[in-house]
C-alpha cells in the first residue's frame, strides 16, 4: 500500500512527536534558564514517541510519502531501539559531569535530532532517503562529538569524524549514483527489479556496491571502515559515546539490511524466507570476509588497550563483526539473530558505558587504573553490574549476550558456515581476555593508596540496576524478545 503525502501523516505520528519535541526544545532553549528541565522534557518527548511507536507496531506494512519511507514492523523495531537508546542517553546525560560543561539546550536538541535521523535510516525505502537519514545522523554526531568546550580530545575527535564521515558518505553516494544510473531509479523495489534483469557491467556494479558498503560500514563501524570509532569514542562525551555505540550501530544494521535485502536479493520460494544474492555480487563471500576481519581486528586491537572507552570502542567493532554474521546466511534466522543481538547489545553496552561514566564522574579518568579495586572502594554495585555486562559481552551464559551469540552462531551453522562459526568462537575467547582484564582490575587488584572511594552517581544507579537485571533476565528467559524480533521481520513486501 502506497500512500501520498497527506495520507501518510496519519501513520507518521512518532516522527511528528519527536520533531515536535525538537522544535519545542529549540524554542524553549531561547527562553528557559533552567536547562535541566530540557532534559526532562526531551525524555518525556522520547517516551511519548516510544508509546506512539509501540502503538503503531503491527500496522499493515505501508509505504509512505510516495514510496520514500517504509512503515513496517522492521522499521518500527529500530525506532523502538533508537528511542530506547535515546532515553538511556538522556538519562545518562543527566548524571554526567562531562555533559554539565556543554550548552545543555543545544546538546539535547542535537541529540534528539540525531535520533530523528536514525528513524529515517531505519525506514528509508529510497536511496535519497537513505542518504538524507544517514547524513542527518552524521552531521549531528559531528557536532555532539565536538561539543565539549575547550577540550582538545573532543575537537580532534570531531575533526577526524567529520573528515572520515565526509569521505565515507561521499564514496557511498558516488556508488549510489552508479546504481541509480544502472537501475534508472532510486526506489529499492525498482532497483531490485532492474537488477533481476541483469545486464550492465558486473564489475562496475560490484564496485558500486563496495562503495555503498563503505558508507554503511562506516556507520556500523565494521572493518576496515571502523577507524574513526576508537578516536571518536574516546573524544566524545561519555553519554553520547554510549548512545553512538548502540544506536549508530543499530541504525547501520537497519540501513544495511534494508538495502541488501529488498534491493539486491531475490526472494526464494514464496514464504520460505530464503534469499539468494545476485550472482554478480559475491556479497556472501564479501560479508563473510568482512565479518571475520572485523571481529578479529576489533578483538586483537582491544587486547592491550588501557583506556576503557577505547577498549569498548574496539569491542564495539568486534560486535559489529558478530552482528554481520547474521547477514551472510540470507535467511530469516540470521536476520532474527541480528535483531536480537542489537537489542541485547544495546542493553549491555549502554550499561558498560554507564559504569564508565560513573567512574569518570568520581575520578575524572577513563583508564584502567581508575578501576583498580573498584569493588572495594565503595562501588561494589557498579562493579558487579560491570562484571555482568562484560560477561554478557563476552557471551557467557546465562546472560543475554550469550543468547545473542547463540542465535547468531546457530544461524550460521544452520547455513553451514563452519569456518566462520569457529573463527567467531575463537574470537570470543580472545575477547574474554580483555574484558576480563577490567574485571580483574575491579575485583582482584588491591586499590592503591591514592585511589579514593568512588561514589556511584545517584541518578545512574536505577538505570544501571535495570540494565543489569535485563541482561540477566534475557539470558534466562528470552522467548518474548525472540518473538518480538521474529515479528519485526515484516518488511518484505512488494
Amino acid at each position: 500500500m502506497d500512500l501520498g503525502n497527506v495520507a501518510s501523516l496519519s501513520l507518521f505520528y512518532p516522527e511528528i512527536v519527536l520533531a515536535g519535541t525538537i522544535i519545542l526544545l529549540t524554542i524553549l532553549d531561547l527562553v528557559v534558564a533552567n536547562k535541566r528541565a530540557m532534559a526532562y522534557l526531551g525524555l518525556a518527548g522520547c517516551l511519548v514517541a516510544l508509546v506512539a511507536t509501540v502503538d503503531l507496531y503491527g500496522t499493515e506494512s505501508t509505504l509512505l510519502f510516495h514510496r520514500m519511507v517504509a512503515l513496517d514492523n522492521f522499521s518500527l523495531f529500530f525506532k523502538v531501539v533508537t528511542l530506547a537508546a535515546l532515553v538511556g542517553a538522556i538519562w545518562m546525560s543527566i548524571g554526567s559531569g562531562e555533559v554539565r560543561q556543554v550548552h545543555l539546550g543545544e546538546y539535547y536538541i542535537v541529540l534528539l535530532t540525531c535520533g530523528f535521523g536514525m528513524f529515517f535510516m531505519a525506514s528509508a525505502n529510497n536511496l535519497l532517503m537513505a542518504y538524507l537519514g544517514l547524513e542527518l545522523v552524521s552531521l549531528t554526531s559531528y557536532i555532539l562529538t565536538g561539543m565539549l568546550p575547550h577540550n582538545r580530545r573532543s575537537a580532534e575527535a570531531a575533526l577526524k569524524y567529520l573528515i572520515y564521515g565526509g569521505v565515507a558518505s561521499g564514496t557511498m553516494i558516488y556508488g549510489m549514483s552508479w546504481v541509480f544510473g544502472m537501475a534508472g531509479s532510486l526506489d529499492y523495489a525498482a532497483i531490485n527489479a532492474a537488477m533481476g534483469e541483469a545486464g550492465g557491467n558486473q564489475v562496475a556494479l560490484f564496485m558500486a556496491f563496495v562503495f555503498i558498503l563503505a558508507g554503511f560500514g562506516y556507520k556500523m563501524a565494521f572493518a576496515p571502515f571502523h577507524m574513526w570509532s576508537p578516536d571518536v569514542y574516546q573524544g566524545a562525551p561519555t553519554p553520547f559515546t554510549g548512545f553512538l555505540s548502540v544506536a549508530s550501530n543499530a541504525a547501520g544494521v537497519a540501513i544495511l539490511i534494508r538495502f541488501f535485502y529488498p534491493a539486491v536479493s531475490t526472494l526464494g520460494q514464496e514464504g520460505s524466507w530464503a534469499f539468494q544474492a545476485f550472482p554478480a555480487l559475491q556479497w556472501t563471500d564479501l560479508l563473510v570476509a568482512l565479518s571475520i576481519i572485523t571481529m578479529t581486528w576489533g578483538n586483537l586491537s582491544a587486547l592491550n588497550q588501557r583506556n576503557v572507552k577505547r577498549l569498548l570502542a574496539y569491542s564495539g567493532i568486534a560486535h559489529a563483526g558478530y552482528i554481520m554474521m547474521g547477514l551472510v546466511v540470507l535467511n530469516n534466522d540470521g536476520l532474527n539473530a541480528m535483531l536480537f543481538y542489537v537489542v541485547v547489545y544495546l542493553i549491555m553496552n549502554l550499561g558498560a558505558f554507564l559504569v564508565v561514566m560513573i567512574v569518570a564522574n568520581a575520578t575524572g579518568r577513563e583508564d584502567m587504573d581508575a578501576y583498580r579495586g573498584l569493588a572495594w572502594r565503595g562501588a561494589a554495585f557498579p562493579a558487579v553490574c560491570m562484571m555482568v555486562f562484560l560477561a554478557s559481552l563476552t557471551g557467557l551464559p546465562p546472560l543475554a549476550g550469550f543468547i545473542g551469540k547463540f542465535l547468531l552462531v546457530a544461524a550460521i551453522i544452520e547455513g553451514q558456515f563452519y569456518l566462520l562459526a569457529v573463527v567467531a568462537m575463537i574470537n570470543t575467547v580472545i575477547s574474554l581476555y580483555y574484558y576480563w582484564r577490567i574485571v580483574k582490575t575491579m575485583f582482584l587488584d588491591e586499590p592503591a593508596p591514592e585511589d579514593g572511594p568512588v561514589a556511584a552517581t545517584a541518578s545512574a544507579v536505577p538505570l544501571l540496576g535495570a540494565l543489569a537485571v535485563l541482561t540477566l533476565v534475557l539470558g534466562v528467559y528470552w522467548a518474548p524478545l525472540l518473538d518480538y524480533t521474529t515479528g519485526s521481520l515484516g518488511f518484505f513486501m512488494q
Binding site: A391, T394, L396, P397, P398, F402, F406, V409, A410, I413, E414, Y418, A421, V422, M425, I426, T428, V429, L432, Y433, W436, V439, K440, F443, L444, Y477, W478, A479, L482, D483, T486
Partner: protein
C-alpha cells in the same frame, strides 16, 4: 516429589545464595551456617536418590521436563541415569563438605559463600541436564564463580591462574557450542534433547568430507563434531597437552576450591565424553578412541606421574597426580567392554573422593605452616599422628592399594584395557610403580624422618577438619571392600552406552 527432586537439588544452593546475599556483611558465622544449610537438602535428597534409584533400567530416572524456549525446541529437561547419579551424589557430598573446609575463609565471606553456592548449582546442573542448551548454560555458569573464587581468595599467583583457567575452559566450551549447534541442525526434526539425539545416533554422516585435511584423514561430519566436543572435554579432564591450567589453578585456589576442581570439575570432561560423544557419535568414537582416548590416557598416566614426581609443592604434586589418575578414566572408557567402562566411571567417583581428601589434607597443613614445600617439613607423623593417619589412608588409596577404592577401579580399567590395547596397558601399568614412587617419596619427606624443630608445636588436626575428612575416608574404605555400592548403580546404564559404540568397532 520424585519429579522435582533433581530440580530441588540444583536450585537449593541457588536459593541459598540469594539468602546469603541478603544477609548483613559482617555476620560471618550466620553466613557460613546458612550456606551449610543450603547444601544439606541436596545431600539428603541425594541419599534419597541413591536409595530409590532403579539399578536395573538403562533409561533416565527422576525426569522432569518443561518447555523453555519453544521457538528452538529448548526445554528444561533434567534426569539421571547410572552414569550421572554417581556424579550427582559426589557433587552433593563434596559441596557439603567443602562448605566446612571453607570455614576459615575470613576475607569477603559473603561473596565467597555466595559464589560457592552458585558454583554448586552449576555443577549439579551439568550432571542432571538432558537438554543441550541447559547443559551448556550450567557448564558455563560454573566459570564465573570459579574465576572469582580462585582469583580473589587464591594464592600469590591467583590472577594468572584464574584467567588461565577461564581462558582454557572457555576455549573448550565455545568449540563445544559449535558442535552442539551442528548436532542440532543436523538432527531432523531439530532438537536439543539429548536422549533423542542418543536414540538417533546413526543419523550423523561419516562420509569423509571433501575439505582438507579431513579428506586425508577420512574424517566425516561425525568425526569433526566429535573432535570439537572432545577438545572441550579434554581441557576439563585435563588431557595432555591441555592440562597446564590445572597445576596452576590447583596451586593457587583455596583448599575447598581445589577440592571442587579436582573432585568434580575434572569429572565433567569424562562425563561429557560418555554422555555425549559415546552415544551420539558412536562411529567416530570407535574410530578415534585409540589415539584420543586410549593412547592419550596412557600417556596422561605416565606423563602426569612423572611430572608429579618432580614437584616440590605438595599441591602441585597432587594436581599432577590428578592428571595421571584421570588418564585411567580415559583408557578405561576406550576399552569398550564392561570392565573398562565401569572401571572408568568408578575411577571418576573414586578419584573424586580420594583427591578431595588429598587436597583437604594439604590444606590442613597449609593452614598451619603457611607453605607447602615438600622439603620444608619432616617427621609430621610424630607431631600430628591422627593427621598422618588420614594422610596415609588417602595416599594409599591414591596409590591403588587393594582394599581401598582406587584399587578396584584401576584394576578394572587395566583389566578392561588389556584385550584391546596390550602395549598401552603395559605402559599404563607402569603408572602403578610411578604412583607408588612419588606418593611414598612425598610421604617420606613430609611425614617421616626426624621431626622438623620449626613445626614441633603444630596443633593436631581439629574436629572440623576431621569432620570433612571422615566421610570421605569411610567411602574410600567401603568402596574398596564392597565396590558394589557404586558399581551396581553404574552397570546397566554404562553397558547400554557401551553397546551403542561396540557395534561400530571394526
Amino acid at each position: 516429589m520424585t519429579e522435582h527432586v533433581l530440580s530441588y537439588m540444583v536450585f537449593f544452593p541457588l536459593a541459598g545464595m540469594l539468602i546469603v546475599l541478603c544477609l548483613p556483611r559482617d555476620r560471618h558465622d550466620l553466613i557460613r551456617w546458612v550456606s551449610a544449610a543450603a547444601t544439606v537438602p541436596p545431600l539428603l535428597l541425594g541419599i534419597g536418590l541413591y536409595v530409590n534409584f532403579d539399578t536395573t533400567t538403562t533409561g533416565m530416572q527422576f525426569v522432569q521436563r518443561a518447555a523453555w524456549i519453544p521457538a528452538f525446541n529448548i526445554e528444561y529437561y533434567v534426569g539421571v541415569d547410572g552414569l550421572s547419579v554417581s556424579m550427582v551424589l559426589l557433587t552433593a557430598l563434596l559441596s557439603f563438605l567443602c562448605i566446612f573446609a571453607s570455614w576459615n575463609i575470613d576475607k569477603g565471606v559473603k561473596g565467597y559463600f555466595a559464589l560457592f553456592l552458585l558454583l554448586d548449582t552449576g555443577m549439579t546442573g551439568v550432571f542432571v541436564a538432558l537438554d543441550f542448551v541447559l547443559f551448556y548454560v550450567f557448564w558455563e555458569v560454573m566459570l564465573l564463580p570459579m574465576y572469582f573464587l580462585i582469583g580473589i581468595w587464591g594464592g600469590p599467583r591467583k590472577e594468572y591462574a584464574a584467567i588461565k583457567f577461564f581462558l582454557y575452559t572457555l576455549l573448550g566450551s565455545v568449540l563445544m557450542l559449535v558442535a552442539i549447534l551442528a548436532l542440532y541442525f543436523y538432527s531432523e526434526p531439530n532438537t536439543f534433547d539429548m536422549t533423542k539425539l542418543m536414540d538417533r545416533s546413526n543419523l550423523y554422516s561419516t562420509e569423509p568430507l571433501g575439505m582438507w585435511p579431513f579428506n586425508v584423514w577420512g574424517w566425516g561430519f561425525q568425526h569433526v563434531v566429535w573432535m570439537a566436543l572432545f577438545i572441550g572435554f579434554a581441557i576439563k579432564i585435563p588431557a595432555f597437552p591441555f592440562h597446564t591450567w590445572l597445576p596452576d589453578a590447583h596451586v593457587e585456589a583455596p583448599t575447598a576450591i581445589s577440592v571442587i576442581l579436582a573432585g568434580i570439575l575434572l569429572k565433567m570432561g569424562t562425563y561429557g565424553i560418555l554422555r555425549i560423544n559415546y552415544p551420539m557419535l558412536p562411529e567416530a568414537t570407535a574410530d578415534l578412541a585409540f589415539w584420543f582416548l586410549a593412547a592419550l590416557g596412557a600417556w596422561n598416566i605416565v606423563y602426569g606421574g612423572l611430572c608429579a614426581m618432580a614437584q616440590t609443592d605438595m599441591k602441585k604434586l597432587v594436581a599432577y597426580s590428578s592428571v595421571s589418575h584421570m588418564g585411567y578414566v580415559m583408557l578405561g572408557m576406550a576399552a569398550f567392554n564392561t570392565q573398562g567402562i565401569n572401571g572408568a566411571v568408578l575411577q571418576m567417583f573414586n578419584h573424586g573422593t580420594i583427591t578431595a581428601m588429598l587436597f583437604l589434607l594439604v590444606g590442613v597443613i597449609y593452614d598451619r605452616a603457611h607453605h607447602r614445600d615438600i622439603d620444608g617439613f619432616g617427621g609430621l607423623a610424630g607431631i600430628m599422628p591422627v593427621y598422618a593417619g588420614f594422610t596415609a589412608l588417602a595416599f594409599f588409596a591414591s596409590m591403588g592399594l587393594p582394599g581401598l577404592s582406587g584399587f578396584v577401579s584401576e584394576v578394572l580399567v587395566l583389566l578392561g584395557a588389556w584385550p584391546k590395547y596390550h602395549a598401552l596397558t603395559i605402559i599404563a601399568a607402569l603408572g602403578i610403580v610411578i604412583t607408588a614412587g612419588y606418593m611414598l617419596w612425598m610421604m617420606q619427606r613430609v611425614y617421616l624422618g626426624p621431626p622438623n624443630e620449626k613445626y614441633r608445636d603444630l596443633p593436631e588436626i581439629n574436629g572440623r577438619e576431621i569432620f570433612t575428612l571422615f566421610p570421605l575416608g569411610v567411602i574410600v574404605v567401603v568402596v574398596g571392600v564392597y565396590p558394589r555400592v557404586v558399581l551396581d548403580l553404574l552397570q546397566a546404564s554404562l553397558n547400554n552406552i557401551n553397546q551403542m559404540v561396540i557395534s561400530h568397532l571394526s
